[in-house]
Symmetry: C2
Subunit: 667 residues, 2 copies
């Protein structure tokens, strides 16, 4: 059904994301986070990029630009993709400017834009690594060298900067870079038939096409997507050209989703961030061109990813080895890699799938990742970050076990490989883009975030103002704004996790929420007047969620969720050795008042049974004696808020016991 819908929509109308400027956030949950990007993260990250934060891993990213621009002498330092940190910072700063004018930040961004432009070469080439060092190796190793990845991030930054400020400074620079790349790569004779090892430029070129209207950028993006994984394999061709006659193995090709042409792919594989960026680009091309084969591949991969390879937090990529997907239902909690950037990438892709096919399943996953696996990547204060987001942490194992060495117990001020911090900044600063979308008929409400959106529908300027205490309450009110009576549809997502949603228009209950359309949206089609009010009520019980029986790691366990928020147990609230706890199936669970010390989250209280460590137990490692348990109170906090107090253990999946709470007559 959703595929039919999808076909209909994608053939009928191109739906594009809203601009950052079209949506204003005014929300108790998100506004402080958006503000934090501007007040804390952007200034802090600027200091880090300039190597001025003691204790943070050195970046050298801005220094590289100064050297490439001829302002200083020195060697290139950092990863081959170091430039992308500056690009993501520029993009995040631009979204901040779109949200709220700030002359000082605007000036600083102008300085950086000037520096970037100065670092560009005569022919449009822009990459400090191969400008400062080994310029003869430009474009000789697309598989490893990340030149196109950095270019992609620069393009995203330029588009964001132009849309936020109206200034063409960075956009013009970056169009010269895109033109340079277009001159080197493509199906035309004399050009190389290459494509990047780390995808990113594909989705970026679609953004550039949308803002410039320049079809060449769309065609170049499609070329990169079409060419990927074709035989003869470009990784082999360029390796031979370099004099490396060892053909590249299947592992490296799968790692970058280049093992087969993309339209033949139906399973999420390889490096998870690369995968998300590729699939996002594929969806973009499908949206823009109506390419059904691409859309179909996206849908198949989506189904595999979200029903076989995704953690309950929206974290993806379970293995540190290759930062990659492994195989269906392999979702270890304690060694989970689940890179913050991969969850961010999942939000990007979900958003595009939602534009491609209106179906709440995409918004459900987008919301799941946003409230859990993305937000866990940043401390409540905004200055510390997790790169890896496991669902279970035993600090002693992280310290002493070789196969847990990738798990940090506390968030870090920066990383040697610092992709995640600026990535989360740019996502949070542009969160407004993900809440709504529209086509010719309808204005869609995908996320419940206090905000106001303005758009044109059927030639009329309309607005919608959303108020809500989500995710702590399920009450959402939406007020329509329009100049005169406007017939259009308001399509409101009824989340997949909800039961018994209610809807009222101007105080009159309507049935739409109880029986949303097959795509999960409740559609209210009427002639709207200014000030019309829609009230959505989403009951928000605390839910015990089980994983599919094939997920071995979660057998016999439950996770607590309320609305979209996944909860966890922390040692600071529940004492050490969280594996000793089990939750009775029917035990009562209650919600606490907002915890201001923890950013206003609502914690969950309950009673668990805890295995006793008696004196005998303390010595015998294996024992046939009976199990002794005590009743103890437990407290669960949102997963995203964990690790903001004392370092300690954490678990998402909690053992469940079937033991009846009340003693029966037989006892």
């Amino acid at each position: 059904m959703s595929m039919e819908r999808a076909g209909r929509f994608s053939n009928m109308v191109v739906r594009r994301p809203l601009l950052a400027k079209q949506v204003k956030i005014d929300d108790q949950f998100w506004s402080p986070r958006v503000q934090q990007v501007k007040d804390v993260m952007v200034p802090y990250q600027w200091e880090v990029l300039n190597d001025r934060i003691a204790g943070a891993a050195p970046s050298h990213a801005v220094e590289n630009f100064r050297i490439a621009a001829g302002e200083k002498e020195g060697p290139f330092q950092g990863w081959v993709f170091q430039d992308s940190d500056v690009a993501k910072w520029l993009e995040a700063a631009s979204y901040c400017l779109a949200n709220e004018p700030d002359p000082d930040l605007d000036d600083l961004v102008d300085v950086v834009v000037h520096l970037v432009t100065k670092a560009q070469q005569e022919d449009g080439y822009l990459d400090t690594r191969f400008t400062i060092k080994e310029s003869e190796k430009r474009w000789t190793n697309l598989r490893d060298n990340h030149e196109m990845y950095c270019a992609g991030h620069m393009i995203e930054a330029a588009v964001a900067h132009y849309e936020a400020t109206g200034k063409r400074t960075l956009l013009d620079t970056i169009c010269r870079l895109a033109d340079h790349i277009d001159a080197k790569f493509g199906p035309q004779p004399g050009k190389k038939r290459g494509y990047p090892g780390h995808e990113e430029i594909e989705l970026a070129l679609v953004k550039l096409y949308r803002v410039t209207g320049e079809d060449r950028y769309l065609q170049l993006s499609r070329f990169f997507i079409d060419e990927r994984g074709r035989i003869p394999h470009y990784y082999n061709i360029e390796a031979q050209t370099r004099g490396d006659n060892q053909p590249e193995g299947q592992y490296v090709k799968t790692y970058s989703q280049a093992h087969v042409p993309v339209r033949e792919q139906d399973v999420a594989v390889g490096h998870a961030v690369r995968a998300m960026y590729l699939y996002s680009g594929m969806a973009d091309i499908a949206i823009e061109t109506g390419d059904e084969a691409l859309a179909k591949a996206c849908r198949h991969i989506w189904t595999n990813l979200t029903t076989r390879q995704m953690y309950i937090t929206g974290g993806i990529g379970s293995s540190v080895h290759g930062e990659a997907f492994t195989f269906d239902y392999d979702l270890p909690n304690d060694t989970a890699y689940t890179e913050t950037c991969a969850a961010i990438g999942l939000v990007f892709w979900a958003h595009r799938m939602l534009l491609l096919d209106s179906d709440r399943k995409y918004a459900d996953v987008m919301e799941r990742a946003l409230y859990n696996g993305v937000l866990s990547g940043i401390s409540l204060g905004g200055r510390e970050y997790f790169y890896v987001n496991p669902l279970e942490v035993w600090p002693e194992a992280c310290e002493k076990r070789h196969d847990h060495g990738h798990v940090d117990v506390v968030r870090q001020p920066w990383f040697d490989c610092a992709c995640c911090p600026p990535n989360i900044a740019r996502l949070l600063a542009s969160i407004g883009q993900y809440i709504y979308s529209h086509d010719e008929e309808a204005l869609y409400v995908h996320l419940f975030v206090g905000s106001a959106v303005r758009c044109e529908l059927k030639g009329r300027r309309v607005s919608l103002t959303q108020e809500t205490g989500y995710p702590w309450t399920g009450q959402v009110s939406l007020v329509v704004g329009c100049e005169d009576a406007s017939p259009f549809t308001v399509a409101i997502r009824i989340p997949g996790w909800s039961r018994g949603a209610t809807l009222a228009v101007n105080g009159v209950a309507i049935d739409a929420a109880a029986s949303p359309d097959a795509d999960g949206y409740a559609r209210i089609e009427q002639s709207w007047r200014d000030g019309d009010r829609i009230e959505l009520g989403l009951p928000m019980p605390i839910q015990r969620v089980r994983a599919h029986a094939a997920v071995r790691e979660d057998a016999g366990k439950i996770a607590l969720m309320r609305g979209p928020v996944v909860y966890c147990l922390e040692e600071v609230d529940n004492g050490p050795n969280l594996s000793r706890l089990c939750l009775p199936r029917d035990g009562a669970l209650g919600l606490e008042e907002p915890d201001e010390a923890l950013g206003g989250v609502c914690a969950i209280r309950g009673v668990a049974r805890r295995r006793r460590s008696s004196t005998e137990q303390a010595d015998a490692l294996y024992n046939a004696a009976n199990l002794e348990e005590d009743e103890v109170p437990i407290r669960a906090v949102p997963y995203f808020a964990w690790g903001n107090r004392r370092p300690g253990e954490m678990i998402v999946w909690i053992r469940e016991t079937m033991r009846p709470e009340a003693a029966g007559p037989g006892r």
Copy 2:
């Protein structure tokens, strides 16, 4: 209490292991295995050592001796410790000759002994690696080069050969080797104060001392033990001498238990096999010299190992990284390394601790390792081996997950690093040595194995003949043999796992089993007459065993045991995804008749609940819906017998549910 006993015994009397020749095995469980060593393993392994088995990893071990002996030309091949495979083969073959004369095998052994002797150098040095290649590097890197490790195995082989055949051929050769080492190493001026990176020679030299009476060998062993870990550190000294001025890090020192002097050690650390061989040597020295500080260190380490770091199978060393111990209660089942050789080493050490301190806890662990973690290392047919013995196997993870890459799903015909197969052969062929021991007062029965033992007690020649169907039944009969009325004590171990043991002498019940001494032995002290019969009855219910609450991996799970035998579930009996199964706490479990197709083991039958994979379940990865379960029959087989049918999943630890079996009145 046991430490007091220990002090008493170790100060009073030196107890030594029985000779292989003193015990004859006639047992339905062990005799076929002992016979298999002679009929299958020794001939098969001889073929492998000569590189004549297709599909087995090449050994080159015999070829190296031919080259070193000057019979052939060629390069050394294999590991630096390749010689030890030949030594362990010689030792196993010698035990076979002790068990049963065999002129053909005797001739073959003579040929190998001749070859080994021919490979010895003028000065007594014997190690093909540094004879064929880089002889200038002899004894320059004790930390890594395994020369003393190989020498130790040669010494053990020589002692076994002499005791089995009375021939001094190999013994004389090996005494020249030991003398060579004694001339090079020791506390005396002009000698190096070195000790081996891989312990083994310490326990071997004690054996050589016992058989030759030559005190120098005991003193050399003690020197190696005393010197270990002292400052200045020998690893640093020899590194500097080699021109390597990078001082060795703590990791490598801990890896080989050389991080601090041995008397200061109280936790099992580092490479598990090395650790077992060291601790065995320490116990040997404590037995022979009455060194209480050494005995105390052994006891502390033992407590740590067996109450914090040992799997229920007697497997030890949980980490593939360094084949090593990690930390207390860190006992992952699926990534467990638990090398076969480490479990064998635990048997060696437990045996010595039992001689040092009479306490059933040592025999309990020895038995646990023997029936589980050791025997799992070999196929029922005797030709395939596990190097790694995990307690949970998911074949897809072993194939696809980088952190499971060390786990073989099926036993292998040989290994590139082939320490385990000949090690298991020498242990099985000498199993008789582990059943009994004696001091001046008492004859101890540690293990229940059909057998006859002869020894001298209080100047009288006595014997004991044991008959039993153990481990499948708990009925054990012991018949005393003596020329005339002999007053001595028969001390029978009442296993730690047993409840309600009974004892009778000549049909008359006695109380000793119900209240054994504090050391766990039931002592019957009387004037014995020839033919007196003791009947021991050990009730053998199927037991549900739980791990200590601190073992996170086993939380909420049980293991099935009966007597000393740990059971497991295999996919071939129970279908795929064993994590879906859980055992009701009070569900009935029953014993099957012996399964001849599986070597006569008694399997366990029961009923479990299995999570259903319904159509809805099949798609949703996370679901708040209720759990649906079916009742299904399950079959558990002994852990040691797993993997002898089709490849598939296996688990030892099974989830337990508290759900009552019968519906109460409230339902």
